[in-house]
Symmetry: C2
């Protein structure tokens, strides 16, 4: 097999360039304001290339969303296979999701901008599917914690939301306009506070 | 003093109508896409009326932001004057902020859409000022909790973020595309979990 030429090895292919260009334009200019022409120009491809891979701007957008959901799903086995106490496993899960979110911060930013932003005519996408899957995993861990006597008996839903809150504020904080005030190390510290309680015993 | 006519008592004045119209348009169509002409048409006033009260679209937007900050500041004495244990006071504070946020959900929605949304050329506004003030209040409560022996000694910053997380997820949840999954009563329950800890003692 011949060695790859420099161009082949260092440049992402047209499909990848389209995804990257769309992500930048959708986040910085908005979905509605980004035209097929502009996305193609930014990716250095012609319109038929976009239509060939994604059919339309809508298709390109939905692909970005599906790809991030697929990434999350692919991480689940690794994030949940950690062995240790339930509290260690909760921390491992939350740190893993935080890490992926910061590595893919542009995608997270796009998701937040579509979810909380002005409606822009982007095709409907069920963002809560990812959240629901995460809730489900945490519910499972909380149940296990209670069954094994590591957590006290309590409302599983409330306990799950308490855990998810910490992760939420840490990820949301990375999108702040100021330098983020919560870093990765804070997740374990805040979760530990939740496990042990603030109350003087 | 003569009784107010029906029109006077039931219709907001032009200034108020402009603020309401701008809030709706900025949230639903976006700041950039809402023109002075459209805002005036929705408010049923002529352009000079907008210029008279707010100088410009920018001025109208900044007024909405300043007004919500002023509302928050005006609530602080009431939210912090509650007497009781520190944990009761934290719950009272968080429930009070949640209540105001749900009463003013359109403003909260606009703030989220500007903060997390695609940049739309809206004039810069320091949203973190409100957050910082809130952090300051919670820091004060946590310090008091520790000093009075109600909370155990610990990192005040981490304890503050742990508390703020619960409030954050409850308010953010009100902007969800699905029916909110956290209601007002969950705030006290989740904070109580944080105070007491999840761990079986």
């Amino acid at each position: 097999m011949p060695a790859k030429t420099r161009t082949e090895s260092s440049q992402p292919d047209a499909r990848e360039r389209l995804l990257n260009a769309a992500l930048v334009l959708f986040t910085q200019r908005g979905y509605a304001a980004s035209s097929v022409r502009e996305i193609c120009a930014a990716a250095g491809v012609t319109k038929p290339v976009l239509y060939y891979y994604f059919n339309s701007k809508e298709g390109l957008y939905l692909h970005l969303m599906e790809e991030s959901y697929a990434l999350f799903v692919s991480l689940v086995p690794k994030l949940t296979s950690y062995t240790g106490t339930v509290r260690q496993r909760v921390i491992h899960l939350c740190e893993g999701i935080f890490d992926t979110s910061t590595q893919k911060l542009d995608v997270v930013r796009l998701i937040y901008s579509i979810y909380y932003g002005t409606p822009q005519g982007a095709p409907a996408y069920n963002f809560d599917r990812c959240y629901d899957r995460l809730l489900e995993i945490i519910v499972g861990l909380v149940r296990e914690g209670i069954e094994q006597g590591e957590f006290r008996a309590g409302d599983v839903g409330d306990m799950t939301w308490a855990i998810l809150s910490c992760l939420n504020v840490a990820i949301g904080g990375q999108l702040s306009h100021c330098p983020p005030r919560i870093d990765r190390t804070a997740i374990a510290r805040i979760l530990t506070l939740l496990f042990d309680g603030l109350r003087e015993k």
